[in-house]
Symmetry: C2
Subunit: 214 residues, 2 copies
């Protein structure tokens, strides 16, 4: 790798967090560029950042001379191109499909309906709104995990599904969803929390995390 | 393939439609099982269907002895396991990442916020809600396509991004979003409409399409 990759990230963004875990598992050293999603109307909405990411979202990863966006495609790219570290997806096509389906259940089924821009649009009732969709999503996800989980979401190895699960559990807790109602989700979350690569990617460990949340 | 694949689908579901295009491009013969999302509270909400798809969504594809869910993972699976037909993702890792990012911009960035269950929850203002998110999403998508598009979304070959684009244009039209405001989206949509595999996958061609919409 000629130059060090650059990650445009926000400490509490779920999608940035997923990519931070992937970079950490793949042992990739990178520069962290904070994108504040709230202050001054959000740096993601500036023309400067929009040149980097037309979707006005984090993360963006500058790597191998290209700027990549969207967390799942970035994770797939790292899995395809970086030999170091563990695989982020299983080799078996059916298990890959299961891991991806769990990841998408979170990435497209839960997170987008409770993300910052949707909650701003919902306004006053945003806490109930977020809680409703996370509970509904976790109810479904728990049922999927009954069929696939071992120590982690798909058997006993970490996959892309786990990279999505941990930030979603954090969001659930922010919106007072009792994760103890979902025994598989809670157990897998606890197992993942123990891994140093997941600890390093936690919002509290990022340079843009405010002192009071550390 | 020992037994014929079975697709659980709803004629107007975007995610089902994407998979129908993939099956059509990959020349896979399959049985079509309609899942009515509206009638009698929705067949997807029955315990019978939930055994097939715990997320209570379409599509589900029964193939090679497994039941797969979530459109993007199903398309990735078909691309990895079926030699017939064209590739659904480019071979080059950077182009794969670009195609996937466009697909996710629709799959996780637009469609979930305007899907049936969210609109039902929004209630009275659902048409304005859907229009707002599709316009915002198309504005972003158009900006991404300026950098990637040729005849189709990524250069001149059909990719997973195009499989997502066509159903999203149909939704935009349903919610009165003027697609002519987005020259790349409109042009690519017109090019894709001409392909027989896309024509075969259109809602109007499905067995569960009501007579009046044919």
């Amino acid at each position: 790798m000629a130059t060090k990759p650059v990650l445009y990230s926000y400490f509490r963004s779920s999608a940035s967090w997923r990519v931070r875990i992937a970079l950490s598992l793949k042992k990739i050293d990178y520069d962290y560029k904070p994108v504040h999603l709230v202050k001054d109307g959000g740096f993601q909405n500036t023309e400067e950042y929009r040149e980097i990411n037309p979707m006005r979202q984090v993360p963006s990863l500058v790597i191998d001379g290209h700027t990549l966006t969207q967390s799942i495609p970035i994770i797939e790219y790292l899995d395809e191109t970086v030999a170091d570290g563990p695989d982020l997806l299983p080799k078996d096509p059916v298990l890959r499909a299961k891991a991806r389906a769990l990841a998408e259940t979170i990435n497209s089924g839960i997170q987008p309906i409770q993300n910052l821009s949707v909650l701003n649009k919902i306004g006053e009732t945003k806490v109930e709104w977020a809680k409703y969709w996370i509970e509904r999503g976790f109810d479904n996800l728990e049922k999927m995990l009954e069929k696939t989980a071992g120590k982690y979401s798909v058997g006993d190895v970490v996959t892309i599904a786990d990279l999505c699960l941990v930030p979603q559990i954090y969001n659930a807790e922010r919106f007072k969803v009792p994760t103890s109602n979902y025994p598989n989700i809670a157990r897998i979350g606890e197992n993942l929390e123990k891994l140093p690569e997941f600890q390093a990617a936690h919002p509290s460990q990022q340079p843009d995390c405010p002192e009071e949340l550390r």
